[in-house]
């Protein structure tokens, strides 16, 4: 039986979230930014699982499945946008695509 205190578990999820946030803020390559968003989604889902295990309810896992669906949609749209950006600008640097007009 796992006896890790829930504070430690949430701390680990928080560290993973923070790593994703740092990656999102620091990296300017769009693929890395999407990856960082994935890390953040994943750690948010981890908190749901931790809470669901703590109270022995299936609701946390249900929420994780919804997070999974949202993530799949987000990745599909994000990667499609990324392909379009690459075809237009020939770069993936987020700072070079900061103008709405051509």
């Amino acid at each position: 039986m796992l006896t890790v205190p829930i504070e430690t578990q949430i701390l680990i999820a928080g560290i993973l979230f923070l790593l994703g946030l740092i990656g999102l803020l620091v990296r300017r390559n769009m693929i890395y930014m999407l990856m960082s968003i994935e890390i953040m989604f994943n750690s948010a889902g981890m908190v749901f699982i931790i809470a669901g295990t703590h109270w022995k309810q299936p609701d946390g896992q249900v929420m994780f499945i919804f997070i999974l669906a949202v993530t799949a949609v987000e990745v599909a749209i994000g990667l499609a946008l990324l392909l379009q950006v690459y075809h237009h600008f020939k770069t993936l640097d987020a700072d070079s695509v900061n103008k709405l007009k051509d």
């Binding site: 620091v26 390559n29 990856m35 994943n42 295990t53 990324l82 392909l83």
Partner: protein, 172 residues
């Protein structure tokens, strides 16, 4: 039991740090897959075997493969003469060690979990399914609408627009 949790958490954190600080996109993605596998081991240890399986199948299996396909399509971070660098042990020794640690951790934990009485406390897929399709039925339908919007949006964004150029400007 706790040591397995901490090992998996350490592997997850190290590989996440390597993923967000890498230079080569493909290497970062492989580190990210390793991080997701480590999180999946954590889920298994947290008595959520169904979610652990979903994490491997959908996150590491589907979403990350999508990422890798796009990265390879865009040809980012792949230079010529790369093979010589890949054969250099320095490139693959760290992820291999991390993956081996994770595998050993998981195998030993698997044996211990079978022996321990905690398996009957696990939240099984049956409970999750009953809750999903009774209490959260409306949310399932909304997720379905969201997925449909995603499919249509990805199709629309992914289709290549035909470039219209004047016939005198077309290079012969």
């Amino acid at each position: 039991m706790n040591i397995f949790y901490y090992i998996a958490a350490a592997v997850a954190m190290i590989s996440t740090i390597m993923a967000i600080s890498g230079r080569n996109a493909i290497h970062s993605l492989l580190y990210l897959i390793l991080s997701l596998l480590a999180v999946s081991v954590i889920f298994y240890l947290l008595n959520a075997p169904f979610i652990a399986a979903l994490e491997v199948i959908i996150y590491a299996g589907a979403i990350m493969v999508l990422f890798i396909f796009v990265t390879m399509m865009l040809n980012i971070g792949i230079e010529r003469k790369m093979e010589k660098k890949w054969l250099n042990p320095r490139m693959w020794i760290v992820p291999s060690i991390l993956a081996a640690i994770l595998l050993i951790d998981f195998i030993i934990a698997l044996k211990n979990v079978k022996a321990s009485p905690s398996t009957d406390q696990a939240i099984l897929p049956k409970q999750v399914g009953i809750s999903l399709f009774s209490t959260y039925l409306l949310a399932v339908e909304i997720a379905g609408i969201l997925l449909m919007a995603g499919v249509i949006g990805a199709y629309h964004l992914g289709s290549q627009k035909k470039k219209v150029t004047h016939r005198y400007l077309v290079k012969k």
